[in-house]
Symmetry: C2
Subunit: 284 residues, 2 copies
């Protein structure tokens, strides 16, 4: 994690990123991945940049609300990312459409429900509904999980174009738990199985003790644009319950896909703030 600027800038002659912007965004990455709060010197050490540079970069980020200084003079993420996220989320209209079905699914299965979409380097969590039970799994909005670990990840991976699949494998399959699939052949077999069965079921591949079932949501062109999944403590996914749960998840995914057809919009209405609206028509 050293020399983030200089090194990247000259990776190829005609690529030319803007050095200072590249550096600034790398600082944001540090704020997003590592500790919650950083000092200037800490940044400086982590990146190999001089304190003066870091200072002015951070100052600029601060001006725009991306970082903020707490009382103890350390820096943390500001609220601007959240603001932008609101716009990003708004673009995924699956979210609005899926909501009521997700609530229903949580009710029927008693497990937590999560809506995901494929993203740059993994799948990103678009919405969640927490299980009503005392003991439950909690997903995190905006969280990115890797392609190769977990039900949602593998499901989305299964329906990506072949070159991307190969690329992901080529980049390595880091282990997250004892049960993470790290072998290429095993992973490919899993993906084939997912395509055949139309759902993914995993146990503890990304988080120990967490089981999940995932099914694809398709748009009018049969493209997989999202997935619904349920997740919970592994012991609740017993053999007897499993088929029933799978059916529930698949039905939910199918229902959302149908609702998606009903509103062929996609794109962006003028986006008002908090407008009065009606429930999307239920499909039975």
């Amino acid at each position: 994690m050293r020399n983030i600027g200089r090194a990247q800038a000259k990776r190829s002659s005609a690529w030319h990123l803007v050095q200072s912007v590249d550096r600034a965004l790398s600082l944001l990455d540090l704020l997003g991945n590592g500790n919650a709060s950083w000092g200037i010197s800490e940044f400086s050490r982590a990146t190999g940049l001089s304190k003066a540079v870091v200072f002015r970069l951070v100052r600029t980020l601060e001006r725009h609300g991306y970082v903020m200084q707490s009382e103890d003079r350390r820096y943390t993420l500001g609220t601007k990312p959240l603001e932008l996220a609101s716009v990003v989320l708004h673009r995924f209209d699956v979210r609005q459409i899926a909501r009521s079905t997700m609530l229903d699914l949580a009710e029927r299965t008693g497990e937590s429900v999560v809506l995901t979409a494929p993203s740059r380097d993994g799948v990103i969590c678009l919405d969640t509904v927490d299980s009503p039970q005392q003991i439950r799994v909690s997903f995190r909005l905006g969280r990115v999980t890797p392609w190769h670990a977990g039900a949602a990840g593998k499901l989305h991976m299964a329906f990506q174009p072949e070159p991307l699949i190969q690329q992901v494998i080529a980049r390595g399959l880091p282990r997250h738990t004892a049960r993470t699939v790290t072998s290429k052949s095993r992973l490919l077999r899993d993906l084939a199985r997912i395509r055949r069965d139309g759902y993914a079921f995993t146990v503890g591949e990304f988080d120990d003790g967490v089981a999940a079932i995932s099914a694809a949501i398709v748009d009018s062109r049969k493209e997989v644009i999202a997935a619904v999944s349920i997740g919970g403590p592994a012991q609740r996914f017993s053999d007897e319950r499993l088929q029933g749960l799978v059916k529930e998840v698949q039905q939910a995914a199918g229902k959302i896909s149908l609702l998606l057809l009903g509103s062929p919009s996609t794109g962006g209405p003028p986006m008002s703030e908090a407008r009065v609206l009606q429930n999307p028509r239920e499909v039975r």
Copy 2:
């Protein structure tokens, strides 16, 4: 909206932002506020920067996932802001703590519920629960609304330090609807009243036809760190129902404040992804 770079850079001698970073972030602002998708030339016209500059800035933003290029070669926001937002949200532990009470409040009042916190230039929406009714108001996670308009805005403003209040007024009170409070004296009277009564009630100040009731959530030092509000179509906030609704919102806010005392953590645990957890103990 012209000359965003050059102009800001030399606003004061020792302020020195990093020009290119400043420019890049301004592009993100455009993506967040204006149309959902932009072309290079469009950016160029809107900012007064040369196409070449815009291009390389956008390229750099793209590398880091802040923007992405759609098939039609135009640029939109990428998913990185969402990723960062996940971390930002995680820092507000009120969110976890308030959740169940918010669900309860939505149930009892039949209106949509929203959790907000003071932010740089307004109040930001941290979490929402949609009303179970057919006709309802829908709030947007991450959305920032101005200090002076709406129940949550005015409530938070009322409990801000005096200099900030003056500053907000000095910056002007833009009108959003016919009922927005744009007079300084009227606003100050409203704030005094809110401090006295311990809640804010507004009708159609930010969105036409939307009424809202807001109450403060305080931490162990009695600082107002967040607020719960309910919102719905104005006609449902009749005189007969009003006092009951106010009581509900206040009780919810009080309960959350209490729960907040129970978990004096604040700060950041190692933050696991999707961990098994228990419901926060209910307080009756």
